[in-house]
């Protein structure tokens, strides 16, 4: 495990050095008045509020007199609601819309209409797959790297290999689908040959369904040793299910989770390792990117470099995980285990 952590640290270091190597040209001009909308997948979920906190911090720093508008749909109306909010923001001619896209390509026509009107469209957390109508995607981590991290955590937890299953959000969750694909790709490496994926199920990001699905996995696969859940709802529900059925010695849980929700399961060994990135930072970087685009400080084109306040220098590059589209890569992952989860949970 130690070795794994050092690798992550090294990777982080490399990426920091890579940033430092470029000379950052674009700097933000503070004090411009720009109407900006931050659109989460839906309201009431901790990670999106953290992103809002980060965006608000950036807004103060940039002295934009207009407060960031944090507008989101309800969970049961997420797709139609996101489209509605983008359309209404277009009518009001805001300066920039920052979207954590939950609608896949279905949001493209609305985003395109906004973009055609000159509104900057910055996606964060989850991009528009075809990149249509999108200026740039602020990626929390490299989506291929997510697969790598998941594979490494699986191998750390099961050094002798064994059967594992994936518990995902919904079949329509573009992020999860991309991560799972990357994960399966990484597993082809002979290094991971001892790990055997036996199932892929969906809990639709509801505690109850995820909980039942986790138990069903155990029933269906008597030799199951690990449940990998790349969703914060799924991982917590699966960990609780294993704990309730006293299965933690036999079946471990891992994936992407929030420290505050996972701390007890990590300390008692049900979920020895999991990963996530900082949503506060993601909101902050997204706001910087969108502000600079809307203020004309930055152009959404390959190779453009800019400085994003306290987070340092970034570059807009081609998004290697999509056919088209540009990307700003935040990174890196934080991997949580007994040594650091308690501090992060506070």
């Amino acid at each position: 495990m130690k070795k794994f952590l050092t690798t992550t640290a090294a990777l982080a270091l490399v990426s920091v050095m890579a940033h430092a190597a470029y000379a950052a040209d674009a700097k933000a001009t503070p004090g411009k008045s720009i109407d900006m909308v931050l659109l989460p997948k839906f309201l009431g979920i901790a990670v999106f509020d953290q992103a809002h906190t980060g965006a608000a911090e950036a807004q103060k720093e940039l002295k934009n007199p207009k407060e960031v508008k944090f507008l989101g749909p309800t969970p049961e109306n997420s797709v139609a609601g996101q489209i509605e909010i983008v359309t209404n923001a277009t009518t009001q001619n805001v300066g920039a819309i920052m979207i954590s896209n939950n609608a896949g390509d279905q949001i493209a026509p609305a985003a395109k209409a906004a973009h055609d009107k000159g509104i900057k469209i910055v996606t964060w957390d989850s991009p528009i797959p075809t990149a249509e109508g999108e200026d740039v995607f602020v990626a929390q981590v490299d989506f291929n790297k997510t697969g790598q991290v998941m594979a490494d955590m699986a191998l750390n937890i099961l050094p002798d290999g064994g059967e594992f299953a994936i518990l995902s959000a919904s079949p329509d969750a573009a992020n999860q689908n991309a991560w799972i694909k990357a994960f399966e790709q990484v597993l082809k490496d002979p290094k991971y040959a001892k790990l055997k994926q036996v199932d892929l199920v969906y809990g639709n990001d509801q505690s109850e369904q995820s909980y039942n699905q986790a138990l069903a996995l155990v029933d269906k696969h008597p030799n199951l040793k690990l449940i990998m859940a790349p969703t914060t709802v799924g991982i917590a529900a699966a960990a609780k299910a294993m704990q309730d059925e006293k299965l933690c010695d036999k079946v471990k849980v891992s994936g992407l989770g929030l420290p505050a929700e996972m701390v007890s399961y990590t300390m008692n060994g049900c979920a020895p390792q999991f990963a996530l990135w900082s949503f506060v930072d993601l909101g902050y970087l997204t706001y910087y990117t969108a502000y600079m685009l809307a203020a004309g400080d930055l152009k959404a084109e390959e190779g453009a470099k800019f400085t994003a306040g306290r987070m340092g220098d970034y570059e807009i590059t081609k998004d290697p995980t999509r056919e088209k589209g540009l990307r700003v890569l935040m990174g890196p992952f934080t991997v949580y285990d007994k040594s650091n989860v308690e501090a992060a949970a506070k």
Partner: protein
């Protein structure tokens, strides 16, 4: 004027009054509200739901309910997408999707009309099952890239500022208005809603009319699902998920009794205007998410509660006078 008529009149009057208030607030509040673009968007953003609400009105007046409409919308869109990906010509895909919708509707209708199962149970099974079938077709894929003419059906204005979907809505409104208020079929529907026994005595072929209504509901839902696909340009398994609740809310606010037998298309039309304008106004005022749904929920309750309170207070006052 009978008591029922005057109650209906006052219901629609109330909706109209509320509508005027909301429009006035919207005009006063947002400079963007009266723009042509916004007015078209106001309809466009919910056009599929309000199309299905029209046929849902018939179903509920007849004393039944169809909870499976949103799943049929999704299934029709998924079937279309799946066939399109197989390389079939687009018109054929559309036809097949509409036929699937008709089949689903007739399937519901068969169990309700000829086996006598409660429509709530049948269409609840349909809500789960049809969505499940949609999943079988598309699994975890999202399919887009349709011909431009198809996407433009949902996105481009074709007649003045009106899109194809809006024209479909207007035509369907006229057709259903005539059917419900100006034809024998409409009278049958009201009679059925007032009691199956009464309908049998008056010589209505209850089973056939029910089968027909559910089939119509399936066809309209399928068309709405396709229009939704055209507007968004991409289809996935959760297309139109959960729309049934919004659709039923619109119909109920229109003054249609959930027990059947009463309500008018005019009321539903006003309710559509009301809810759409309210949503749009709140959207322009940057009120979204749960606050928006809460306001609509409160409106739903208050619009029935307040007149009831006023009525009973008036009655009590009159009682004191005499």
């Amino acid at each position: 004027m009978t008591a029922v008529q005057s109650r209906l009149m006052s219901w629609e009057g109330l909706l109209l009054a509320l509508l005027v208030v909301i429009v006035a607030i919207n005009i006063g509040y947002s400079p963007y509200y009266l723009g042509v673009e916004n007015i078209v968007n106001l309809f466009q953003l919910s056009i599929e739901k309000i199309i299905v609400a029209l046929v849902m009105t018939l179903i509920i007046i007849s004393g039944e309910i169809d909870l499976s409409v949103a799943s049929i919308m999704g299934l029709a869109a998924c079937v279309m997408a799946w066939l399109f990906q197989l390389g079939l010509p687009m018109p054929l895909c559309l036809l097949a999707a509409i036929l699937i919708g008709a089949f689903c509707g007739a399937f519901n209708g068969f169990w309700v009309a000829y086996v006598g199962l409660p429509s709530l149970a049948v269409t609840l099974a349909g809500l789960i099952g049809f969505r499940g079938v949609a999943r079988i077709f598309l699994e975890d894929r999202a399919i887009g890239g349709y011909p431009a003419w198809f996407n433009s059906l949902g996105q481009q204005p074709i007649f003045g500022p009106l899109t194809f979907s809006i024209i479909v809505f207007i035509l369907l409104f006229a057709v259903i208005g005539i059917a419900l208020h100006g034809s024998a079929l409409g009278r049958y529907i009201y009679v059925m809603g007032n009691g199956i026994e009464a309908a049998r005595y008056s010589g209505v072929n209850v089973k056939r009319v029910k089968l027909m209504l559910f089939t119509a509901s399936g066809v309209v839902a399928a068309i709405a699902g396709l229009l939704y696909a055209a507007r968004l340009g991409s289809v996935r398994g959760d297309t139109a998920f959960g729309f049934e609740l919004d659709i039923i809310t619109i119909v109920l606010l229109g003054g249609v009794s959930i027990f059947g037998g009463s309500g008018s298309l005019l009321g539903v039309g006003l309710s559509i205007f009301l809810i759409l304008n309210l949503r749009n106004g709140m959207g322009l005022a940057n009120i979204t998410g749960n606050t928006q749904t809460s306001v609509i929920g409160a409106l739903l309750i208050l619009s029935v509660l307040v007149p009831n309170i006023v009525q009973s207070t008036l009655k009590r006052l009159k009682g004191r006078e005499t």
